[in-house]
Every structure is written in structure tokens, then in C-alpha cells.
């Protein structure tokens, strides 16, 4: 009997879908589950993608969270091999422990949550606050083991099966099932970080700060008060950090300390609370407008991980994320336009993040990061008005030769995808014919109703 279930959701919780779910205990069983499946398949990890890249309505999900074994770690070289369901939180807890002098091995790249799997980090080719120095996660993948639905298991690396390797990094899980990966960790002289927060009062101040900071600070990003308009448009708080030599810190916990136990029946993020949050957050640095501290990287990299399942605060309808990148030449104008549209719409967002990407090329055919400026926002789902705003933002991004981030997307149009990711034509032949996702169908990557 086939059991259909609705409890596999995406982080934004805007979509509910029926899936058949397998949770293989080891790589052999996972490989077998692919070739024996009567439905189209897709890998599922921690469910932290916001939109629909990890959903496969009417199909099978392979829940990879039991593929959680470390396979080998070389303390001298920092080369780690692990199964795809190992989470970044586990790598931090097990491997990234301080040595006597405070130094240690560290994740070369980490996104804003440590509760993601290695497989998911590769499939979305995630980035972090140090993109301008270290590029994307995929740049630090030395090799990966990929299971295909024909029963084969292939090692992919820049030397072996390089085309499939380039398609699988950032390949949204559509080229096969990532079983394990070999990562090059990074040596830091201190696991602790020195972090600064600086108020800025306009968008052009942001660009000045970014230019000045990217040279000496390896982690940078800014929060923007999206309700400020006019002379205050683009004001916010710039955060920058770097490792602090000689000081070690214990890794953060493997799970959140607190958790939101139930979905809030009405969104806790209404226009009043967003207004209050933005007003208060803008003033959090006090009169000086600047703070500095040395300590754990946890509050700097993972502020939201402190509260488990915080997505439930957005209520039963869920929320949308929007993240785009626009090239440097168009950035000042395009970002200002987008912030103006948001301020006018009244659809407030709490978590508006602005960051500059560096020039390091992304290794994946469909990798999102490219040189430029990236803007990320979230909006509670309020129906047509929210979607209309997101469509307008997409138009601005596309007109500025930018593109949207599939891992966060729920509404991108096939046109925006095609223009943003011209390599999709090289990507399509590398896809595994028995793999599918809601995103791939919506965007037309898979030949179906919504063809390209």
C-alpha cells in the first residue's frame, strides 16, 4: 500500500503537497530506492529551502537524514568525507573544535543556518557572508558520489565526470541523488570572531561601507530598514566580522535551544509588529551607532538558529522569501528601486539583507551567486498584493540583468529563469530522467505542462 503524506513541507510553508516518502538507512538502500521507484523522485534534507525546490508533489521524496555518517577525516589536511545527510551543525560540533591555541578546522562557507544537510548545501550551491573571499559552498567540494536512477553510482569531481559535477553543484537535486561528498575544510587561526555592527543612514553609505569593509573583513552583510523612505531610504546596520587569531570557541549546539511549538494561528508578523521591529532594530546600537565584540560566531552567523521552527511565526499561510542578485553596474539604481517599491507597498519585511558578492566564479551551471549585489527579503503571504509586489521586484531584477535564487523562490517566472540562467540548456541533458521537483516543473526545466 502506498502511503501519501502531507507533512513534508518547505520552510516558507506556502505549499502543501502529497508525497510518498522513503528514509533509507544507508547508501545502498538509497540507490535501490531510486531505481525501484514507480514515481518521480527527489532528495529531501532538513526542509530549509523556502520555496518548492525540495518538493515533488505526487512523487517520491528520499529523506536523506539517515545518511548521516562521517566516512573519513584527515586532521592534517582538513579533507572531510561524509554522507549527504550530515548537517553543517554536526560538522561544527564534531570536527570544528578548538585546539589549545584557539585554532581549528572550520566550514569554508556557511549559510545563515547550520541546520542544513551537506547534500542540500551542494544542490543549492549555498553562500554565506564570506562570499567575497571564499565564493560558494561548491568551490570547496572536492568530489561527490552521485546515484542515478539507472542504478549506477558515479564519483564526480573536477577531473572525473566534470560535466555532471558542474551540473550537480547548484543542480537543485535534479541530476541524481548525492550520496556523499568530500569537502576541503578551512584552517582558521581562531575559531572565535571579532564582530562589528555599524549604523548607516542611506543606501550610498551602505555601498561606501561595503567597499571599505570587504578588504579587511571576511564576513560582511547588512540589515536594511525596509520601511524607511525618502531621505532615509536604505538605512540599516552593517555587520562585519573576521576570525580572531588565538581565541577558540566551543561549537554551537546541535539543535536550537528554544522552539516554536505550534503554528501561530494568525501571523505574528503583521504590519504593526514589522513596523515596531524595524524601528527598534534600527536603534539597537544606541547613540554611538556602533558596537564591537569578540566571541562565538553563533550570533553572527546563525542568529535565527536560536529559535527552532521560527517559520511557524508567520502563521498558517506561510511566507515568501525573495533573493536576487544584480550586477555591480546596475546595483545602486536597482536596489534603490526595489526598496522604494517595498516601502510604497506597505508589505513590510523584517529580514531584509543586503550584501555584495565577490568575483570568485561559482562552479555550478545553475549556481546563483555572481559578481554584484544581493538583496534578500521575506514577506508573510497575504495573497495577491504580496504576489504582485514579488512580481514587480522580479521585473526590476531581470531588467537589471539580475537573477533570483531558486532555493528561496516560490514565484519566479520561466522567463526570469531563462534570462537569469542561460546555462540551463547545458544543464538539461545532465538531468536524471526520473527526477522531478515542483520548481523544475513550474519553471519548465522538465518537459511537462509548463514547457520552456
Amino acid at each position: 500500500m502506498t502511503m501519501w503524506r502531507q507533512d513534508y513541507r518547505s520552510w516558507g510553508r506556502t505549499v502543501s503537497a502529497n508525497h510518498v516518502v522513503d528514509r533509507p538507512e544507508n547508501r545502498d538502500n538509497a540507490t535501490r530506492a531510486l531505481s525501484e521507484s514507480e514515481f518521480p523522485v527527489l532528495a529531501y534534507g532538513c526542509g530549509r529551502s523556502y520555496g518548492d525546490v525540495a518538493l515533488n508533489p505526487g512523487g517520491r521524496l528520499i529523506d536523506c537524514r539517515s545518511l548521516d555518517r562521517f566516512l573519513a577525516f584527515n586532521r592534517a589536511t582538513g579533507v572531510l568525507t561524509c554522507e549527504a545527510g550530515v548537517r553543517l551543525a554536526d560538522i561544527l560540533a564534531v570536527i570544528c573544535r578548538p585546539e589549545a591555541d584557539g585554532s581549528g578546522w572550520f566550514l569554508p562557507v556557511t549559510p545563515g543556518t547550520r541546520f542544513v544537510t551537506v547534500g542540500g548545501a551542494i544542490a543549492n550551491d549555498v553562500h554565506g557572508k564570506n562570499h567575497h573571499r571564499f565564493g560558494t559552498f561548491g568551490r570547496h567540494v572536492l568530489a561527490l558520489e552521485l546515484a542515478r536512477s539507472d542504478g549506477s553510482r558515479l564519483v564526480c569531481s573536477p577531473e572525473q565526470n566534470p560535466d555532471l559535477f558542474a551540473a550537480t553543484i547548484g543542480g537543485l537535486g535534479l541530476t541524481g541523488l548525492i550520496l556523499s561528498a568530500t569537502l576541503q575544510l578551512r584552517r582558521v587561526e581562531g575559531l572565535a570572531v571579532e564582530a562589528e555592527d555599524i549604523q548607516f543612514s542611506s543606501l550610498s553609505d551602505f555601498f561606501d561601507l561595503a567597499e571599505a569593509s570587504d578588504r579587511d573583513w571576511e564576513y560582511t552583510a547588512a540589515w536594511v530598514d525596509c520601511l524607511a523612505s525618502g531621505a532615509h531610504l536604505g538605512r540599516g546596520i552593517y555587520s562585519r566580522a573576521r576570525h580572531y587569531p588565538g581565541k577558540g570557541v566551543e561549537p554551537p549546539g546541535r539543535n536550537s535551544r528554544l522552539s516554536i511549538p505550534i503554528t501561530s494561528p494568525i501571523p505574528a508578523t503583521n504590519s504593526l509588529s514589522v513596523r515596531a521591529f524595524n524601528a527598534l532594530y534600527w536603534r539597537k546600537l544606541g547613540l554611538n551607532g556602533q558596537t564591537s565584540r569578540i566571541g562565538s560566531y553563533e550570533p553572527v552567523f546563525y542568529p535565527l538558529d536560536a529559535i527552532g521552527e521560527w517559520n511557524r511565526l508567520y502563521g498558517p499561510k506561510g511566507f515568501y522569501q525573495f533573493q536576487c542578485v544584480v550586477p555591480h553596474e546596475q546595483a545602486r539604481e536597482a536596489v534603490a528601486d526595489m526598496l522604494r517599491l517595498i516601502a510604497q507597498s506597505g508589505e513590510g519585511s523584517m529580514l531584509v539583507v543586503l550584501k555584495t558578492f565577490g568575483d570568485l566564479p561559482s562552479p555550478g551551471l545553475l549556481s546563483f551567486p555572481r559578481p554584484g549585489v544581493t538583496l534578500a527579503l521575506d514577506f508573510p503571504e497575504r495573497g495577491t498584493t504580496t504576489r504582485k509586489l514579488l512580481r514587480l521586484l522580479e521585473e526590476v531584477a531581470v531588467a537589471a540583468y539580475g537573477r533570483l535564487y531558486p532555493a528561496k523562490d516560490s514565484l519566479m517566472t520561466p522567463d526570469a529563469f531563462r534570462q537569469g540562467y542561460p546555462s540551463f540548456e547545458q544543464f538539461q541533458p545532465m538531468m536524471d530522467p526520473r527526477f522531478s521537483s515542483a520548481f523544475a516543473q513550474r519553471i519548465g526545466l522538465i518537459k511537462g505542462e509548463a514547457q520552456l
Binding site: 555518517r69 566516512l71 573519513a72
Partner: protein, 253 residues
């Protein structure tokens, strides 16, 4: 007084590839223990050993055994005991969750379940008991189940085996008290593992293997005798045990 560097703990896990056992083994590996893993499948054992070594285990030995073959149990225990010249902790974690209706229809199926969930672990604990007793130290931690607390129509064969195991452990605890050996009876409720993968795992009663493992390690440190994990099962089972017959017989538990 000079500072003494404590020796790594010696831990054997019987049924080492089960969901709960894996989570327990990882916790001891991270504290630098030496581990003997005993289970049926060599490939799974090898994979588990590599994982535990990366996690910090001082040493990992693996040993194949089919616990259904009760005649092999003395040799299995003897081999595990001598790997590191004695043990500080033995965790007995194997078992099956068979289908009650199949066992009602087929005695052979019921027999297999009774062997693997009662007879085999009881004999294995007996073999371990006199070794711990002779050393006058150590901990024997055995996974039974809340299902052993009362016979219920939905799974009384499994429940009887686990209930029998609980009585056996109670007796061992009585016997080994004088030698200072801890006997811990671990009674988990619903845990999301491969053993329960065929069940719908919805609702607040389900726990992760890692939560249960944390409770187990805590109970071993505190030298507890009986552990319900998660904690609320103590009260749930108290209700189930004390439900009066006329009421109980109308339930479908």
C-alpha cells in the same frame, strides 16, 4: 595527590546498528570511549566504525553476531569482553518489532520474536552478569520497552518478551547490588527508527533516537535502575498499568 589521567571508557554495544544504539554509540565516541560494536551485518558495522572514529572514539572494534542463534551467545560475549580486557559498560540494544497478527496466526513467528526479544538478551545479560560481578564494577544497560508494562491485544507477544526481560533485569539487579554493578532497564516509548519506519509517526509521543540516547547516557551517569524515555512515559504507563480491567478491556490499546 597526583592528577590521574582517566582511561578511556570501554563500551560494548550489542545490536550496535539499531537507531537508538547508533545515537548512544556516537555520544560515547565523542567522549573518547573505546567501543566494541556487535551486530549482524558486517557492512553496516564497518560504516558505523568509521563514523565513530571520526567522531572521536579512541578505538573501535567490530564483531559479527547473529543474536537469534542462542547457542553462540557465550562465545559472542566472551569475545566482546576480551577486546579491551573487560568492559565498563555493556549496552544491549537489539530486538524486533514483529506483526502481532502474523504471530497469532503462526507460532513459528511468535517463537522468533520471543527468542530475539527475551530469550537471547536474557542469556546475553546472564553471560555479562558474572563477568561484571567478578570485577565488582560496571554497568549493564538494556533496552526493554514500555510495551512490557502491561499485556495488550495490539502487541502482547512483543510485550510479554519485553515484560519477561524486565523481570529478568529486576532479578539481576537484586543479585548484582552487592557487587556494585548497575543494571539499567531502559523503557523507550515511540522512537523514530528503522524498526518503526512502517508506522505513521505523527503526534507528540514520538521521540528522536538522539533524545532517547541523551536520556540513556544521563541515566547511566546517575546510576538509575529504570528509565522511561522520554520522561512522560512513566506517567502514561502508570495510567495504562492501573486502568481497571472493565475499562481496559474496552480500549483498543
Amino acid at each position: 595527590m597526583t592528577m590521574q589521567v582517566s582511561k578511556p571508557m570501554r563500551v560494548a554495544i550489542f545490536g550496535a546498528t539499531s537507531g537508538i544504539a547508533t545515537a548512544v554509540a556516537r555520544r560515547y565516541a565523542e567522549s573518547g570511549a573505546r567501543l566494541v560494536l556487535v551486530a549482524r551485518d558486517q557492512a553496516s558495522l564497518t560504516a558505523a566504525a568509521a563514523d565513530l572514529e571520526v567522531r572521536g572514539a579512541a578505538e573501535v572494534e567490530v564483531q559479527e553476531a547473529d543474536f537469534a542463534r542462542t547457542a553462540d551467545i557465550p562465545a559472542t560475549v566472551a569475545a566482546a569482553w576480551t577486546r579491551f580486557d573487560g568492559l565498563d559498560l555493556a549496552v544491549v540494544a537489539y530486538g524486533t518489532l514483529p506483526d502481532q497478527q502474523e504471530m497469532e496466526a503462526e507460532s513459528a513467528k511468535a517463537e522468533q520474536a520471543l527468542v530475539l526479544n527475551f530469550l537471547s538478551p536474557a542469556l546475553l545479560c546472564g553471560e555479562l552478569a558474572h563477568r561484571f560481578e567478578a570485577r565488582k564494577s560496571g554497568t549493564l544497560a538494556v533496552i526493554s520497552s514500555v510495551a512490557g508494562d502491561r499485556g495488550r491485544k495490539s502487541n502482547y507477544v512483543y510485550g510479554a518478551a519485553k515484560g519477561g526481560l524486565q523481570r529478568y533485569l529486576e532479578g539481576l539487579r537484586h543479585r548484582l547490588f552487592a557487587a556494585g554493578v548497575q543494571v539499567l532497564d531502559i523503557r523507550p516509548g515511540f522512537v523514530s527508527t528503522k524498526m518503526t519506519a512502517h508506522l505513521s509517526q505523527k503526534g507528540p509521543l514520538w521521540a528522536s533516537p538522539d533524545q532517547v540516547a541523551a536520556d540513556i547516557v544521563g541515566a547511566i551517569q546517575k546510576r538509575k535502575e529504570v528509565l522511561y524515555t522520554p520522561w512522560f512515559w512513566r506517567w502514561v504507563m502508570m495510567g495504562v498499568r492501573n486502568a481497571p480491567g472493565p475499562l481496559f478491556h474496552r480500549t483498543s490499546l
